[in-house]
Amino acid sequence: MFWKSTYNEFIKIAAKPRSYIGLGAITLLIGIVLFALKMDGLTYISFITAPFEQSLSFEGNLLNGNTMAFIILQMLIIHIPLLVALVTGDLVSGEAAMGTIRLLLTKPISRSSVLFSKYLAGCAYTFIIIVWLAVLALGVSKVIFGTGDLMVLNSDGLVILQQTDVLWRFVSGFAVAFLALVTVATLSLTFSCFSENSIGPIVSTMAVIILFTIIGTLDVPIFDRIRPLLFTTHMAAWRSFFEDPLPIKEIVNSLVVLVVHCVVLLAIAVYKFKHKDILS
């Protein structure tokens, strides 16, 4: 019954036009970025190499699919939470707004199972978004630009990773990015349990992400203690897979923080959904 309910929830997501906004937006954005980089990518790349160009010369295929994929990920991963929240923020509140939640909860399945079904369907949607992003960013980039070593510009220097050493980093990076987006999905689902309309949870989720990101970016000592606890700080953990040596401790720490956020938020959502008044 649980899996059937999950399947039904996924069908509901698939039937909503807004679910395709995310996929369409990613396709359009990546298409524009790839076109621009194909036309004038070397100018963009020279921005990365410029600090070293006075005394050093870079040889080889600088404008390659791996570097393009990293640039695209870096650009888009900040905006994708909005596309996820657009769907997952509507999972409970959308039903409440339409009045279908009463009918849904008459099914012979517990309230927690209904919520978990919705949550799993939301995670599946997030997974599809990430896979689509990977296919376009990595697959199409490689077809257009070919393969090559990956250049990563960090705030403290340049890391050049050999092409044979890159695929596993991308796979791990996408996996961590998926977990980060699942955290956003959990947050919006939790907000969704508190709301009777769709806009509230979506806007609240984005407001929290923006607020936490600003706190995380500000180099003010007062935020030093809070910053490691914010999930937005760890949403960029995917980037750690492109460092050399690999900061394993930091990656594990980020994974723990994200998982704890998911568990706590989901527990709040379950509690609220179980006690939700669906009669008024």
């Binding site: 006075q54 010369s57 080889g60 250049m151 340049l158 050493d165 970016t217 910053r227």
Partner: protein, 233 residues
Amino acid sequence: MKLRKSLFFILLFSLLSSFSFLIQTQSPNTIINGVYKKMMKAKDYSVQATIKVDLPFIRMMPVEAQIYFKQKDKFRVISKGIAIIPRQGFDQLTRMLKDTTSFTAVNSGSEIIGNASTTIISVIPSADTSDLILGKLWIDIKQNIVLKSQLTTKSNGTILTEYTYGTQVEYGLPDNMVFTVDVKKFKIPKSVAADINNSKKADSKADKKKGKIYIKLYNYKVNKGIPDDIFKK
């Protein structure tokens, strides 16, 4: 008989002394010409290279590359991956030495490098517009090879290069080159690098301003002919 023997030794000694004096008193331009002529023996060459980079602010694994050179100034590095080489690379020295009228060469003393005795020649450009500010060459005049060079240019700063020779010493082509380059202190805003969550404290290595590039050269193919197409990017 004893007198003849003594006379022979005196004559030999005076000959050797005058030869050594001749070597020591070669003009700087003659020494540079000797080196340049040796370099010119290689009309073209291709060589495999292993490039290892030890620079502050850059982390990368050693890279394999193929290097092509053809007189007078055609030069190309082909690498499957991304290779980093000094801007004043392999052909800078040849280009500098080819016109002895464009600079004034001054003998600046001598120095022992490894087992070889070298003469230090300072090269000062004649024209104010020249990119070169000062060149310093440590030349083994017995073999007409440069063992160390230090070139300071307006555009690329100072690069110190140490050369080790082996199989292709007859062409003046090294087996190993070690470049010491100046690297500007590198710091870009986290937001520009989109590395907003990096809270790591700066690496002590990041304070270094000098870095080294090690290039090992092997499988030389000298004067076998290289088509011009290879030099087209």
